[in-house]
């Protein structure tokens, strides 16, 4: 029997639920020579800020058991380059829905970036990443405070009519009030989770491995934590959830969806294996057959 892997995200139909995550898929076009980008459910573009950023000094990467730390520090050419150059170039290569990933250091910055993304025809969905440091509130992040999360969502909602997803941080004691605040302010969906703060030390050099001292932990080790967050948020909210964190195989896609995700993002797995996304997509129908699933949407949140 033909398996239906399609899912709907903010009113947009994806041919499958597998989406490379922001920051782990280059600008979006690097893999076009290796495989047809149309095979992907959607593509999240590199995290973008109002101004261009060089990011952090190197080393930016530290290997860990079951994953890695990164402290890239939002290197990006700025929102203007995204909307005028990068997004149109990726759009030229494929019809796959494109998701812009917006970061900011103030509510206004988020707003302006979302307005610019809204005006860009090549962008289908706006994902707002509220896991980055909010310099105005003493080093806290927008994503750890329901009121701040609500403020960013409200401003982003005013700025765009495109489907709006808010990407949350796992660095919280309770995700529910934050997820609900975003839903109440009109978010069309949530992405969870971003990375968990971590640190490694080079014991020979007696220095942190990362020039930035700390970085964000990602990779397969994050998976059970992400599944838990997705399940908690799905139980509390009605809007769709994109599950992210450690997804590396078709089995993980199914598990995330059973936990409550409508689609998944694949991050670190792309770094270890640049063909991870098409490999996962190819494996889905046979796995669905094994598990007696005809339509992937049927399993969303069934546990």
């Amino acid at each position: 029997m033909v398996k239906d892997t399609s899912v709907t995200l903010g009113g947009i139909r994806l041919k499958n639920p597998v989406i490379p995550a922001s920051g782990t898929f280059g600008f979006g076009f690097e893999m076009a020579e290796s495989y047809d980008l149309n095979r992907l459910g959607a593509i999240v573009l590199k995290g973008t800020t109002l101004e261009p950023r060089f990011g952090n000094p190197t080393p930016r990467i530290a290997e860990c058991p079951g994953g890695l730390l990164n402290a890239v520090g939002l290197q990006n050419p700025g929102i203007d380059a995204l909307v005028s150059d990068i997004a149109p170039r990726v759009r030229n290569l494929c019809d796959t829905p494109l998701i812009a990933n917006i970061s900011g250091f103030s509510v206004d910055e988020y707003g302006i970036c979302c307005e610019k993304a809204d005006a860009c025809d090549s962008i289908d969905i706006v994902e707002v990443n509220i896991s980055c440091p909010n310099v105005h509130q003493g080093g806290m992040t927008f994503g750890t405070d329901p009121a701040a999360a609500a403020a960013v969502t409200r401003r982003a909602r005013q700025a765009t009519r495109k489907p709006l997803f808010i990407k949350l941080t796992p660095n919280v004691s309770d995700i529910v009030p934050i997820a609900k605040a975003c839903e109440e302010e009109g978010a069309d969906g949530l992405t969870l989770i971003n990375t968990l703060p971590g640190m490694r030390i080079d014991i020979r050099r007696r220095k942190p491995v990362l020039a930035n001292r700390t970085g964000g932990f990602s990779g397969p080790a994050l998976f059970p934590i992400a599944v838990r967050f997705v399940n908690q948020a799905a139980a509390a909210c009605r809007i769709p959830i994109i599950g992210c964190g450690g997804v590396s195989a078709a089995e993980d896609v199914i598990e995330m969806m059973m936990a409550g995700a409508t689609a998944v993002q694949v991050g670190s797995a792309n770094l270890r294996d640049p063909l991870a996304c098409p490999t996962i997509i190819d494996a889905l129908p046979a796995l669905m057959e094994q598990l007696n699933i005809d339509k992937l949407e049927d399993i969303i949140g069934i546990i």
Partner: protein, 245 residues
């Protein structure tokens, strides 16, 4: 970029903590000098970037130094075992940029890519000089290989136990080689020390901790005259005039 399974034909120590890894894979094309591969190492999440040392269709030689857990795991592998590699990564050296006379400078395990570079330059009819720097004579590798490939080789060791006593910079001053283009590969401090001593026409192969090796993660960014560049994707080889050192 290509993902491919290789079989270990040999994995032999050639100097203290340094191994030559000979791999075979049917139908694999030759790889370019200065390119690198990313090796999936048992028990490690990220792959390990290693330079193409010598390559021809069906065969690939790597040269690596054991510095941590990943390279130690590699050193423990036996002939017959399989390794999954990403190949064809990076831009490689610019063979055409050399008119007639090439100078190759390598330090420590940074000498790894020089055999393929030397072979390609010789195949293109250029003359090749090489300066190789090591701490001490026991670490000296590749001299015979490079000579067999047609290079004139000078060696420098810190303790003077082989060749000229001192750094490659000392050797460079002493040997005063005649060249119209140069290629440098080695530890960052060596490259930074060479930079002011060398003329415009030449290139440096850089290294940085990598997340992916395929341009996806922006882990390996350096500042260049032309803005931020990813070493894995836009390098690892950069012309001198691109480096704002």
């Amino acid at each position: 970029m290509e993902k491919r399974i290789y079989t270990i034909a040999a994995n032999t120590p050639v100097a203290p903590a340094v191994y030559r890894l000979e791999l075979t894979s049917d139908g694999v094309p030759g790889l370019r000098a200065g390119q690198f591969v990313e090796v999936a190492v048992p028990g490690k999440y990220l792959r390990r970037p290693l330079s193409v040392s010598l390559s021809e269709p069906g065969r690939l030689t790597l040269l690596y130094k054991v510095v941590g857990g990943g390279t130690a795991a590699l050193a423990a592998m036996e002939p017959g075992a399989e390794l999954e590699l990403l190949t064809g990564l990076g831009n490689g050296f610019d063979i055409e940029a050399c008119r007639e006379k090439a100078l190759l400078i390598g330090g420590g395990i940074g000498v790894a890519p020089l055999p393929q570079l030397c072979r390609d330059l010789r195949a293109a009819g250029k003359q090749v000089w090489a300066i190789l720097g090591f701490n001490t004579a026991s670490e000296l590798i590749l001299r015979d290989e490079l000579e067999a490939l047609g290079a004139t080789v000078h060696v420098a060791t810190m303790d003077g136990s082989a060749g000229i006593r001192g750094l490659v910079t000392d050797a460079l001053r002493q040997v005063r080689p005649d060249f119209d283009y140069y290629y440098v590969c080695g530890p960052m401090p060596m490259m930074r020390a060479l930079y002011p001593l060398l003329p415009e026409a030449g290139e440096f192969s850089l290294e940085e901790r990598m997340g992916c090796g395929t341009g996806l993660c922006f882990g390996c960014t350096i500042a260049t005259i032309d803005g931020p560049k990813r070493i894995c994707h836009d390098g690892p080889v950069f012309k001198k005039n691109m480096l704002p050192w």
